[in-house]
């Protein structure tokens, strides 16, 4: 198979994801609040989407035909804010005010205020539901852009996720490309201990979705899989195996870094690892 990405583009994405990760760690450290582990883990997926896959225009966030991205795992705002600021949706200085009173950068995404945020999320399950509703709206308007929806693996324990899954199947929403950020870790620990989710592939398949399972840190795989997904005539779920805390070795695979902000020492150590 011919690679989708040339060496130069691959290096660009790799470097971009590294910058995004540095911004994530800085943002959460500064605010002394926020979700660092899941944000680091999803950084490669968002980098692939915003810097290669998605049709979007930071100068015109309301552009009707843009692809939409919905952060259904709404707690991982550091990664989307870092990406949107870097793309130019709003000034990077705004990131200094993350989780501060008066800032548009709320702890969880607030669509009316933040340019580039396509839907309010935060309580788990509502993002994918809102996303399938939007996708139905696009179908009614005969538009052909895509809805990329990122769910956490813990999130899909919510019943509403499966309601949305049924709805997308009923209305044949082939403009929905979802991801399950499969890192096996949630707030209280190992997902299979908290509330078992495996086997995930037959679950989604039995709800009528086409399912792919990939390495969620491999740009080439992420991008080629999305191209395959676009050929489907039904909704697609990509199970993206990721490592929570990816890129900062002492945070990798540790549930404790779900919602804990890094203190000064850990922050400096993390930045050294990323540089």
């Amino acid at each position: 198979m011919i690679p989708m990405l040339n060496q130069e583009k691959h290096e660009f994405l790799k470097n971009k994801a590294r910058e995004i990760r540095m911004e994530i760690v800085s943002m959460v450290h500064r605010a002394n609040s926020g979700h660092v582990g899941g944000s680091l883990g999803a950084a490669d997926i968002l980098t692939a989407l915003y810097y290669h896959v998605m049709k979007h225009n930071p100068k015109n966030p309301e552009w009707e035909e843009r692809d939409r991205f919905i952060l259904s795992k709404g707690h991982c705002t550091p990664v989307i804010y870092a990406v949107l600021a870097d793309c130019g949706y709003f000034p990077k200085e705004d990131l200094l005010e993350f989780r501060r009173p008066g800032s548009h950068l709320q702890g969880h995404p607030y669509q009316p205020k933040t340019p580039g945020i396509d839907a309010c999320t935060g309580t788990l399950g509502i993002g994918i539901s809102t996303g399938v509703g939007m996708a139905l709206g696009a179908k009614l308007k005969k538009q052909d852009h895509y809805y990329y929806i990122l769910c956490g693996d813990g999130e899909i324990q919510e019943g509403q996720v499966w309601e949305a899954a049924m709805f997308a199947n009923k209305y044949k929403l082939d403009n929905v490309i979802g991801f399950v950020d499969r890192n096996y870790l949630q707030t209280d620990g190992y997902s299979e201990k908290v509330m078992p989710l495996d086997p995930l592939i037959p679950k989604w398949e039995s709800f009528g979705w086409k399912v792919f399972e990939i390495d969620g840190h491999d740009f080439e795989t992420i991008i080629t899989t999305i191209e395959e997904a676009k050929k489907e005539d039904r909704p697609v779920m990509i199970i993206a195996n990721t490592i929570k805390g990816k890129g900062v070795p002492f945070m990798e695979g540790k549930a404790e870094w779900h919602g804990k902000p890094p203190g000064k020492e850990d922050f400096e150590k993390a930045i050294l690892e990323l540089e």
Partner: protein
């Protein structure tokens, strides 16, 4: 007296709106036969979406449709919208202030035979405590129709509350519907009755009974619980000796407490609440439940006499 369903007013208005504006969509959660939205489906099958028994997804998906520029009317029973899908009402609709209309039926004790599980006596409280949410409780068929049109004409989330039964037609409330503006149905100087929803007819009967006893009774019909017509309430507090509120809802967190809050901060006077006490309902005929749970003109009169004597 003529009796008509308030939910039929909703269903009729939806079809009228559907003819005028192709952005109007209707969603339901497997109760289209009961909410009467199946009538919309019959006329506009391509703009009707049955979400099955999933109220949570229905409300969030309606938010998604609003983000795409549509005017979705999401329909189910009151208890399911507020209690089952309360988070979706709050986080998907109210917080981003999206243009979703939540049209609910089978509210209050007159839901009848289904019993407490289906009798929503708490939903006004849940809806009115959500920032950005407009809450309308129409009094009869025609006011339900007018309220549905008014909701479609404003931009933002609206909670529209209807019942299951047939309720008295009250010609006094068929003119000049304006969201947030109470209707003064009787001028009076001794005591004020403030009604919402189907209690309007009981309120008017109570005023007649009080009139016979020689008391000049004001009747204000508060079809909009939020935004509340505070100036009409303050005027009533200043110009009469006290207020009796009447709602087919818990006395907690509904009209009565909303009125009491305004009165106590602006011009304290006695406020007595007629409504369902802090208790669950039970199965029964709607009319006998109105008697059993104290939602009659005579209950309003009793409270008014307390203020006046």
């Amino acid at each position: 007296m003529e009796y008509k369903q308030t939910r039929q007013g909703y269903a009729d208005a939806l079809i009228e709106l559907g003819k005028k504006n192709e952005k109007v969509l209707v969603l339901d959660a497997d109760v289209a036969k009961a909410t009467l939205t199946e009538q919309f489906e019959a006329v506009f099958p391509d703009r009707f979406f049955n979400c099955g028994v999933q109220e949570q997804n229905m409300l969030s998906a309606a938010a998604g449709l609003a983000l795409e520029g549509f005017i979705p009317f999401a329909s189910t029973f009151g208890v399911f919208a507020t209690c089952r899908a309360g988070d979706q009402m709050r986080s998907s609709i109210a917080y981003p202030k999206l243009n979703v209309k939540i049209g609910v039926t089978h509210c209050g004790i007159t839901t009848g035979g289904d019993g407490a599980s289906h009798q929503s006596n708490e939903d006004i409280g849940m809806a009115r405590t959500l920032p950005n949410m407009t809450v309308i409780v129409p009094g009869d068929y025609e006011e339900s129709r007018l309220a549905t049109h008014a909701a479609a004409n404003m931009n933002g989330p609206v909670y529209l509350r209807f019942g299951r039964d047939k309720y008295p037609v009250v010609p006094e409330i068929h003119k000049g519907f304006e969201i947030g503006k109470a209707k003064l149905l009787r001028q009076g100087s001794d005591v004020t009755i403030i009604t919402t929803g189907i209690m309007v007819s009981e309120g008017l009967q109570a005023a007649d009974l009080l009139h016979k006893k020689g008391y000049s009774t004001r009747v204000l019909h508060m079809h909009t619980i939020k935004p509340l017509d505070e100036s009409a309430i303050i005027q009533a507090a200043k110009q009469t000796k006290g207020i009796v509120t009447a709602e087919e809802h818990s006395i907690l967190a509904g009209l009565g407490e909303a009125v009491a809050g305004v009165v106590s901060e602006n011009h304290p006077c006695p406020v007595h609440r007629v409504g369902v006490m802090d208790t669950f309902g039970e199965s029964g005929q709607s009319q006998e439940l109105m008697d059993l749970y104290g939602l009659r003109a005579k209950n309003i009169v009793e409270k008014a006499i307390k203020i006046l004597t």
